[in-house]
Structures are given as structure tokens and as C-alpha cells.
């Protein structure tokens, strides 16, 4: 019950916060697709990555509020939710996604399905 209440509170918080668009880089190499997103102020606890079909979505709450009672003098980044979605091509293995968050940089690696990775065939000398 408590868990459901926490989930509802979290959802309510997300809907009231400003939506922020993070800066991203997306690369492709022979192994798969790499997505890198700048999410300063986001902790792993406040980060959610979901895959639906071939759409990968990320949402992370930036906990950057000033100290209680402090006066805001300049605010270029409001407390908000970073949101971004990516429509990825076929041939990727969404069950083998690897995600790492380090110093505000999120790196998501989506590998290609084994059949899609070019296989090098060794030729034996006769």
C-alpha cells in the first residue's frame, strides 16, 4: 500500500515539474547503438528507462532545488524532469541493454542482435 502511495506521489511530482530536454549524442557502430545524455542533477534512483516496441524513453528528475529559505537570484535550469524518446531501428536486442550513469552523463548501449553483427569467417589454408 505504501509502495503504491509512493508511486502515486512520484507520478504527481513528475507531472508538476518542468519538462527539460537533455542534450544527447547518438552513435552507431558494428556492435550496436550508443546513446549519451547529459542529465546533471539526476541520481540513479530518479532515473527511469523504458522500451516500448522499438521506442526507448528516458525520464530523470533533476534534484537541484536551492537550500530551504534561499532566495533564487538566477535560474537557468529549473527543477524539472529530463525527458527524451528515441525511435530505434530493427535488428537491436532490447533485452541486452546496458545503462550507466556517471557524473550526470547517462550512457545507454543497445547491442545488435547476434544475427545482425557481421560475422568474420576464417578461411583455413588447404
Amino acid at each position: 500500500m505504501m509502495e503504491i502511495k509512493n508511486k502515486v506521489n512520484e507520478t504527481n511530482k513528475k507531472t508538476t515539474l518542468t519538462s527539460l530536454r537533455p542534450l544527447v549524442d547518438v552513435y552507431e557502430n558494428t556492435e550496436g547503438v550508443v546513446i549519451m545524455a547529459d542529465l546533471p542533477g539526476v541520481d540513479t534512483e530518479q532515473l527511469e528507462i523504458q522500451v516500448e516496441g522499438n521506442v526507448l524513453s528516458l525520464e530523470g528528475i533533476a534534484v537541484i532545488a536551492p537550500a530551504e529559505g534561499a532566495k533564487k537570484e538566477l535560474e537557468m535550469t529549473p527543477e524539472g524532469v529530463y525527458k527524451r524518446s528515441f525511435s530505434l531501428g530493427d535488428g537491436l536486442d532490447f533485452n541486452q541493454i546496458d545503462a550507466e550513469l556517471k557524473s550526470g552523463l547517462l550512457t545507454i548501449k543497445v547491442p545488435k542482435k547476434v544475427a545482425e553483427v557481421p560475422q568474420k569467417i576464417k578461411v583455413r589454408a588447404a
Binding site: L23, V24, D25, I64, P66, A70, K72, E73, E75, G104
Partner: protein
């Protein structure tokens, strides 16, 4: 440089000093915008500033900094922040989207006159660089008895 962050002082000399300092900051910033900061359209990295009675917090939002390559200095009441953003490109990768800014990061903030340049701390966590500047203790007005 940020405005609306100054103390009110009726002394004309102090007011003129304040204007002079802000002009110096403006010129200083304008000259630096033409190099390291220019390519990011002068809005990167974003900064938040807040204050309490005791201190000022400057927050810079820059992911993936090398903490050993962050340089914070104070010169003529201007806070200078220089850092290096590490870049990483996966082996043999072809970029589809390239929005992130790598390389040198530079930002200047004019500190208010009641800040104490000798009491500054900096902390880098979760991609946010927080610089705390203590405020000088306010001098109490002295009341002179008239006989």
C-alpha cells in the same frame, strides 16, 4: 554577470565603485565570450544562483567533468570557473545526433560586494558543480551620542 544582486547603499562613492566594478565585469565577460565560451552560444553551461543571509550558492550544470581539471579562481571580485569536459566516441562509431558540448568550459560570475573571496568551497556531484561563497559579516552601525 547577474543583475539585481547588489546591496543598496546611499553613499555616492560606493555607488560609483559598484557601477565601475559591474562595467569592468561586463567588459571582461564580453572579451572572453569571443573565445572559449562563444561556440556554445553563450548559454552553456547553465548556471543557477541562490543566496541566504550567510552565503551564496553558484550551481553549474555540466555533466562528465574531470574533477581534477576543474579550476575555480577569484580575480577582482569575479568568480572564474574553468573546466574540461571529457569526450568519448565509441570505436568506429558513426554519429546520428551530436548535441552535447565537449571540451573546455568557461564561466564568469560577478560576485556581490558583501561576498568573502577567502571563504569559498566547491563540490562536484551528479554533474553539478556547486560553489559556496560565504558572505562577509555585516558591520553594525555605530551610534554616536550627541552632547
Amino acid at each position: 554577470m547577474f543583475s539585481g544582486f547588489r546591496t543598496i547603499d546611499n553613499n555616492i562613492v560606493n555607488q560609483l565603485n559598484l557601477i565601475q566594478r559591474e562595467l569592468e565585469c561586463a567588459f571582461n565577460q564580453a572579451s572572453t565570450n569571443t573565445n572559449e565560451n562563444f561556440r556554445a552560444g553563450n548559454i552553456y553551461p547553465p548556471v543557477n544562483i541562490s543566496s541566504t543571509n550567510d552565503s551564496i550558492d553558484v550551481k553549474l550544470f555540466v555533466a562528465n567533468l574531470n574533477p581534477t581539471a576543474i579550476d575555480v579562481t577569484v580575480d577582482n571580485n569575479v568568480l572564474n570557473i574553468r573546466a574540461q569536459k571529457e569526450s568519448f566516441v565509441p570505436d568506429g562509431a558513426k554519429p546520428f545526433i551530436k548535441e552535447r558540448v565537449d571540451g573546455k568550459v568557461f564561466r564568469q560570475v560577478c560576485m556581490p560586494e558583501d561576498s568573502d573571496p577567502n571563504k569559498i568551497t566547491a563540490d562536484y556531484k551528479l554533474g553539478v558543480l556547486t560553489i559556496n561563497i560565504a558572505k562577509l559579516e555585516k558591520t553594525q552601525p555605530i551610534k554616536v551620542k550627541v552632547h
